[in-house]
């Protein structure tokens, strides 16, 4: 593919579309998350037992994982698009990209661990 303006050699249509799809999904999941964790349980302080007590349903890990994944994808893809606006050199881009990728993978791992732990704690 030969684009002869200062191109990035990367098409952006998929990233753009996924950013929007993830946004719509997040819109639902995030509000749901806030309602369950921040508003319900009025009068009760958030503590270990309260959190753990909510984790028993079978859909808990699925929903949480979906949330984690979309939020991370959407957020990091967002940061990536911001960085692309301000860096034009190839090497900087490469650096940022690998950094974001690493952060994403690490957090996904950490977050998944938390979810599994919570679920197994409650199930046990």
């Amino acid at each position: 593919m030969n684009k002869d303006f200062k191109q990035t050699s990367r098409s952006g249509s998929l990233a753009w579309l996924l950013q929007r799809i993830s946004a719509v999904i997040l819109f639902i999941l995030l509000l749901l998350h806030f309602v369950t964790y921040h508003f319900l349980g009025k009068g009760q302080a958030v503590d270990y037992h309260w959190v753990v007590s909510k984790a028993g349903n079978w859909w808990f890990p699925l929903l949480q994982f979906a949330f984690l994944l979309t939020a991370l994808y959407h957020g990091l893809n967002g940061v990536w698009s911001v960085l692309e606006d301000y860096t034009s050199s190839r090497s900087w881009r490469l650096l940022w990209y690998s950094l974001l990728l690493t952060v994403g993978v690490v957090l996904l791992f950490v977050g998944t661990l938390t979810i599994i732990k919570l679920y197994t704690l409650q199930a046990a």
Binding site: R20, L26, H38, Y48, G75, L107, L113, T114, L118
Partner: protein, 124 residues
């Protein structure tokens, strides 16, 4: 020849559209920053009850409740403006983007007031 603008042209008048974009961007960056922290913090669950609760005491303090109210605002702005962006992208929202912005901000504000009341009532 002289090149003047480098990062953002602060002498350029900011129209509604540019405010929406700047705030959306800043909100998005704040959110991904928060999300990273959040994932770490919740991860402390896996270290057992004590660790988690000690962190939670900290997070249940009035100061953090106030920050939470702020976070809720940031989320709502980003979420609702995000919906505006989706409408612009897919449903000819460009033709009424200013009206849309006002509507979205109004809705976000209403939810913010409601949510803030709930959050703060935990403390009060």
């Amino acid at each position: 020849m002289y090149k003047r603008t480098r990062f953002y042209d602060f002498t350029y008048y900011n129209f509604i559209g540019s405010w929406a974009w700047i705030l959306h961007r800043l909100a998005g960056l704040a959110l991904i920053f928060y999300l990273c922290l959040h994932i770490w913090v919740i991860h402390t669950l896996t270290y057992g009850e004590e660790t988690f609760n000690s962190v939670m005491v900290f997070l249940n303090s009035p100061l953090f409740k106030l920050l939470e109210v702020g976070l809720w605002g940031v989320i709502l702005f980003h979420a609702f403006n995000g919906v505006r962006i989706v409408i612009v992208d897919f449903f000819k929202g460009s033709l009424a983007h200013k009206k849309l912005f006002v509507i979205m901000v109004a809705m976000a504000f209403a939810l913010w007031a409601l949510g803030s009341y709930l959050i703060l009532s935990h403390v009060l």
